[in-house]
Amino acid sequence: MGVGMEYKSILGERGRAVDEQVLYDLRISELLEDILGRERDEFLRSLYLEPLNNEEIAVFRLNVFRDLMRNEVYNAVENFVEKIRESIDYIELEKEAYEQHKLGLHLDAALSYIEAIESFYNDLKVLGIRSQGLLNFLNYLQSIVESRSFRLMKERVYEAKKARDGIKIRVKIIGNRIKVRRYDEGEDLSAIIKNLFSRFKEGEVEEVKHISVTSEMSHIHAAILEGAFKFYRKEYEILKRFMEDFQKIVDDGVMRFAKEVKFYLTYVRYMKKVMQPEYLFTIPNFTCDGSINVKNFYNLLLLRSGRVVHNDISTDGVKRVFVITGMNSGGKTTFAISFGQLAYLSTLGLPVPATEASLPFFTSIMTAFPAREDPRESMSRLEQDITKALKILKQANSTTLVIANELFSTTTSEEGFQLARLFLSELNRKRAYCLFVTFIPGVASIDFTISLVAMPSPEDPMKPSYKILPGSPPSEYMAVRIAAKHRLLYNHLREMLR
């Protein structure tokens, strides 16, 4: 069907493939498992693995999200995609079907398609959409709906459906013989039985289920239909002519849209699943002054296992290196990964898990996490750490985000400190952003860094609160307090051993 207008992709442009190591360190693959669920569409998956090259496309996508995060828009789009899918499925089925069924499948494909196009067009017109992406598609739809060929198809499809609905036959099966005739009249046996036994109180109510083990479109069905068409000649002709006159049903642009828009639908569905009053998503806002201001962000993966703590992170853009220290198992790494994931999602043009999110558009996100001990690896861990650090430094620039976790920990803390200072000074000089998780408290006192600390729980100082707040590293050590509790400090031991 010629429409004369070109379809413009709802995705804007494609991005570039993400670095595998980042995918692993930031646990993006796991996150995608949650987002995609049982969706096995490779095209869709690849979209989530392609950070965008420029901010404009990210904003283009985020604007589509702004529209789709309204329920009525989302429902309209989802409904549309489902119907188009249905239509495509019918056409697929036609290839294998008997002539008698082909007539029906083609009719159903057209019915779904027409209904999909019309209802979506009518919905979208009045929903007040604002994103360029959806507005483009609305225009495209309009050109379809107003085309002569579409109107003609619509007229004919309803005629064909009416013809089919009028068919009713009586079938008799005796042994392997089947008799078909026009239905005239008959007595419903089921109603008679119900009435007859209603005088007995209801017993156990059971439902007999029938699961077809054979096709509903077999040669036997085709033969029954052939019988039916013998007695409904006119109806048959109408169905047949419709199929001949309208061979192609679904427009190519519509088909592409239905495929691409799943990128958005999948994510909105995921957000809906996650969202509760305390777990919200927000459309990120890309800053140009280098500042970061993210409020109440949280870790999506941890949501699986229960309640999750919210944290903030901010800088005016002058200081860009965050050093995170504090108690063991206090949520330091989770904090860094969560922020890394949030930044990653923003570079795909996706809403992020926070109540407010202003941050630069990162053109690259890099990670330096401790390598798993691998005896086959010839380099020592310290060597690997340094290699990673240097590779990062080579690529880093003012729109780079580096997430580093316990780097340089396989040496003395003094040396570790020296290495960290070197690495961070370099990043700072390049004006790159970094979250540096370490247990070397000295790193937090380097002048160009922002010190963040994992805080203990206010109720029980032995337990973490998972809150990461600005401040100086603690002066008292948890391990010492635990020893004191068990009366194992010097004085206790002296007293006991006296």
């Binding site: 079907a97 008698q100 069924h101 007539l103 029906g104 499948l105 009719l107 159903d108 068919i167 009713k168 036959i169 009586r170 079938v171 008799k172 099966i173 042994g175 392997n176 013989r177 089947i178 008799k179 078909v180 005739r181 026009r182 239905y183 008959g186 007595e187 419903d188 046996l189 089921s190 008679i192 039985i193 119900k194 007859l196 036994f197 005088r199 007995f200 109180k201 209801e202 017993g203 156990e204 109510v205 059971e206 007999v208 289920k209 029938h210 699961i211 077809s212 054979t214 509903e216 479109m217 077999s218 040669h219 036997i220 069905h221 033969a223 029954i224 239909l225 019988g227 013998k230 007695f231």
Partner: protein, 498 residues
């Protein structure tokens, strides 16, 4: 709709501590006699004996039916046998292993309907030749004769024939999505083999046969049959279930009266008196009450007890005194008689009058609780607590050495708190106890409501296993001390003189 109710169980659940009552009052012995190894009778007796709810009306309704069943014992036995055999035959011949094969379900249920309809016919014959007078049995008879006539029987048989194995099927059907068949409605077959119908159908019928070698085709055909029959299979199954349910209901209700007949025979064999209890809110009175479970164990008449007491709202029977004097037997005799009374049964006594037909609960000391420990005491209290949750005004609680797992001083305080509260709440108590502080204080405070019983001892010291009224004697112990010391010419010094 057919309605009958020989038991008036209503919606009453079991009492909450049913298993304790069952064990404490040795109900299995009683049920053993009633059931004579018939499991259904045993189940029904257990259920009826342990119902939480009852009323004087229900008690009378059942008493009347019990008397009626004893008069018409032959008809009751015949009906019971018929119902059991019909169920058993259906169980043996109707095989529905799964609910996803409609063809099988339809064939099997039509077989089942045939079996059960035969039994319905026979049931009517038995009923109409008996002479029932009670409300319960009269209703059964009238409801059946009003609802079942020869037309029902022949229609039901006809349905079973139409849907029997090997018959063809005749249905109407429309054409739906994919041009698949939809909305099948199974029809009453038209008269077959009529010459006129054959002539009339020439040119109006499209007939084809499936080649016996076309295995796939035959499978499809079987599937179509299943599909069409699935519309009626649920109806047939539920019709069959209604019929079977009717017989199961009937068998269950009759089984109670089969137990009555068996128990009556036992009473006669042992020579136990038989009385139908009465309710009088101001009386607790019985004459020669026997412990039924003891009679069953010994196959003889045990020592009976007699009591006559006025009741003002509620009563407490405290039982104390030497072991092996018949205290627990007495408690069981009362408990069993109360349960039989509520069930509408006769009890082993010359007369039996109780103030209310309330529910019966037991709190008997467990062997493992005989050791004193706060853990055990807490268990005991917890167990008591679970009874308290269901106690209502007019109920009975039978206690055997409750609160013996802690020292008698504090146990007395607990017992006094608990028993006073119970009696003041209009609940009746019979309590075997050795808690002297409690007995003393309680009988003084509740002298009008309390009966104190002790094992009878004749002047020569012989035990009669009968309980008689006892009296509180303050200072008795001191007196006894003095008495005995005097007898033994033993002087306690220094001892205060009174």
């Amino acid at each position: 709709m057919i309605h009958f109710d020989l038991l008036k169980i209503g919606n009453s659940p079991k009492i909450t501590t049913a298993e304790d009552v069952r064990a404490d009052l040795e109900l299995d012995k009683i049920i053993g006699i009633a059931s004579n190894k018939d499991r259904l009778v045993a189940e029904t007796w257990l259920e009826v004996l342990l119902l939480r709810d009852s009323s004087e009306d229900i008690m009378r309704y059942r008493q009347e039916a019990v008397k009626d069943a004893l008069v018409n014992r032959e008809a009751v036995q015949k009906m019971y046998l018929l119902a059991r055999e019909a169920i058993e035959k259906a169980r043996r011949e109707v095989f529905i292993p799964r609910l996803d094969d409609p063809t099988l379900v339809v064939y099997e249920t039509s077989k089942g309907i045939e079996i059960l309809v035969d039994a319905v016919e026979k049931l009517l014959t038995i009923l109409t030749s008996a002479k029932f007078s009670s409300k319960a049995f009269s209703e059964l008879m009238s409801s059946l004769t009003e609802n079942i006539d020869s037309e029902f029987i022949s229609s039901a048989r006809n349905i079973a024939k139409i849907l029997a194995y090997g018959e063809g099927i005749d249905f109407s059907v429309n054409i739906g999505n994919y041009n698949c068949l939809k909305n099948p409605v199974l029809l009453v077959p038209k008269e077959r083999n009529s010459l006129i119908s054959k002539i009339l159908s020439i040119g109006k019928e499209y007939t084809f046969s499936i080649d016996p070698r076309d295995e796939a085709g035959l499978q499809v055909l079987a599937d179509i049959k299943r599909w069409v029959l699935s519309q009626i299979a649920t109806t047939m199954l539920n019709a069959y279930n209604r019929l079977r349910n009717f017989f199961e209901d009937l068998a269950k209700q009759l089984s109670f009266y089969i137990g009555v007949i068996n128990m009556n025979d036992f009473f006669e064999k042992i020579g136990l008196p038989k009385t139908y209890p009465e309710v009088n809110p101001r009386k607790l009175s019985f004459e020669n009450l026997y412990c039924l479970s003891l009679a069953i164990s010994t196959l003889s008449k045990p020592t009976p007890n007699t009591l006559d007491s006025d009741v003002d709202g509620s009563f407490a029977i405290l039982i104390t005194g030497a072991n092996r004097g018949g205290k627990t037997t007495f408690l069981k005799a009362i408990g069993q008689a109360l349960l039989l009374t509520r069930a509408g049964l006769f009890v082993p006594a010359e007369s039996f009058i109780i103030p209310t037909p309330g529910a019966i609960y037991t709190h008997f000391l467990r062997e493992e609780e005989r050791r004193m420990s706060y853990g055990k005491f807490e268990d005991e209290i917890r167990r008591f607590r679970s009874i308290v949750d269901s106690l209502k005004r007019g109920d009975y609680i039978l206690m055997d050495e409750s609160f013996s797992s802690t020292n008698p001083v504090e146990a007395s305080i607990v017992a006094e708190n608990i028993v006073s509260a119970i009696v003041d709440s209009g609940i009746n108590v019979a309590y075997i106890t050795f808690l002297h502080d409690f007995i003393y204080r309680f009988t003084n405070r509740y002298s009008k409501k309390t009966v104190l019983l002790v094992p009878e001892r004749l002047k020569d010291g012989t035990r009669t296993f009968r309980l008689v009224r006892g009296f509180i004697q303050p200072g008795y112990a001191m007196e006894l001390w003095r008495k005995i010391s005097a007898t033994l010419s033993y002087s306690t010094s220094p001892s205060p003189t009174v």
